[in-house]
């Protein structure tokens, strides 16, 4: 009997797509997770006022989603609600507070205790580190703590994700380049997947938008930014719950890079058309200059918001639908949310690609605008 390969492929893909559900809907006792700080929980339980006691299911889910969207100082896989135990890996905390302070995030016990380092005391509140005294009390004003915040250089969960993707990209593309030189310019193995993507970015994005002449110097940035965003988006859908491109600081730095490269590499025509537009009455020229200058800032700003909002909205919707399972607690609601989450996960893979594509596309459009030759001489 011959078994067709197609059903097997489908089952494999379906299993991969279900992986995020497995991590989110984990049972409380997962034997495979690393049990790191199981022992030091006794003191934390002694003061019950600090934790608003039994929340209803809805606000619990809300809190979980909010927690997922934030960056984290420790890498938690799971938590036990009754005993307040967290299973995960502690990450290093690096602070600049009159000299460098390095300690492990396990000292915070997931925001429940005061961490001490060289005589300074720090407390973790909504994933932000504040300086306090030994009692760990925060002075609140309008619901926001007014304590001093030291400059935080910690290796957080997002930083781990970025490093992971950076190493992956470095290894992948250097080995790819080597295989090309070994194979006489013919792609092999994983290169057969990435060669069409690289060529697509060159032939469909860079050359039409920047032009045959000057596209080459931008290719390295365009390819880097495309694969970086693409891999980070895919990593956000994978288990372990990274939410990196749904973090506005990351998209801000990416958009800032685009803005800097556009501004630095722009030619004379770009600046003359921006600051002293030819062919319009002199009265209008300063007005247009202001609008054009504003436009240069709005462009990277919209780049930043678009990527951030798309990825964050995707995460929120997906997790809310999975959270419906815990609200309905019936086979009908659960199967409905299961089907919805499954189809949305597949849609999110498309969005992950599309957002990387749009970011690269618009970036190359801006580069192209900065490098346009003065070809309409007779018009003005």
């Amino acid at each position: 009997m011959v078994i067709s390969k197609k059903p097997l492929h489908f089952i494999l893909v379906a299993m991969l797509a279900f992986l995020p559900l497995v991590t989110i809907a984990n049972t409380t006792n997962d034997p495979t997770t690393v049990e790191d700080h199981k022992t030091a929980k006794t003191e934390a339980n002694s003061n019950p006022e600090e934790h608003a006691e039994p929340l209803d299911q809805k606000s619990k889910i809300k809190e979980f989603i909010n927690h997922h969207l934030l960056d984290s100082h420790s890498f938690n896989f799971n938590a036990n609600e009754e005993t307040k135990e967290h299973y995960g890996v502690a990450l290093p905390v690096i602070l600049w507070d009159n000299g460098i302070q390095i300690f492990s995030s396990s000292k915070f016990h997931d925001g429940e205790e005061v961490a001490e380092s060289n005589g300074n005391f720090y407390v973790l509140h909504h994933e932000k580190i504040y300086k306090t005294d030994a009692s760990g009390k925060l002075n609140e004003e309008h619901g926001h703590p007014t304590n001093v915040r030291p400059i935080d250089f910690s290796i957080t969960k997002s930083v781990i994700g970025i490093l992971l993707v950076a190493i992956l990209m470095f290894v992948l593309f250097t080995s790819l380049a080597k295989s090309y030189s070994k194979n006489g310019g013919i792609s092999k193995g994983i290169g057969r997947i990435f060669e069409p993507l690289v060529l697509y970015i060159r032939d469909e994005i860079a050359i039409p938008n920047i032009g045959e002449k000057g596209y080459k110097k931008y290719m390295s940035y365009l390819l880097t930014v495309f694969f970086f965003i693409f891999f980070l988006n895919i990593l956000g859908l994978a288990p372990f719950g990274f939410n990196i491109t749904g973090n506005i600081t990351i998209t801000l730095s990416l958009a800032l890079l685009t803005y800097l490269i556009t501004t630095v590499t722009a030619n004379k025509n770009y600046w003359s058309h921006m600051l002293w537009m030819p062919g319009v009455p002199v009265v209008l020229k300063p007005v247009l200059a202001i609008i054009e200058l504003l436009g240069t800032i709005i462009k990277p700003f919209s780049l930043m918001i678009r990527l951030y909002a798309n990825m964050m909205a995707g995460h929120v919707v997906l997790m809310s639908i999975i959270g419906l399972m815990f609200i309905f607690k019936s086979w009908l609601g659960s199967s409905l949310s299961f089907v919805l989450a499954f189809s949305l996960s597949i849609l999110e893979i498309l969005v992950a690609f599309l957002q990387a594509y749009i970011f690269t596309m618009l970036t190359s459009l801006y580069f192209g605008a900065g490098n346009e030759e003065h070809h309409h001489e007779e018009a003005h």
Binding site: R306, A309, A313, L362
Partner: protein, 63 residues
């Protein structure tokens, strides 16, 4: 969060949805007329849709 803000955000999202729908429909028409230019039309469609989508998200997050 107050009721007028929610209504405003909803109105903007409706507008953005209509806009993206219009872009998609026009792109379909254009591809049906000139199938050989479908690549270029798709690119332009995605850019325009992305620009409108940005407004929709801005409304959702500003509420």
């Amino acid at each position: 969060m107050q009721i007028p803000e929610i209504v405003g955000a909803g109105l903007i999202v409706i507008g953005a949805g209509l806009g993206i729908g219009k872009i998609g429909g026009s792109a379909m028409d254009a591809i049906a007329r000139q199938p050989e230019a479908s690549g270029k039309i798709q690119t332009a469609m995605i850019i325009a849709a992305a620009l409108i989508e940005g407004i929709g998200f801005a409304a959702l997050f500003a509420k």
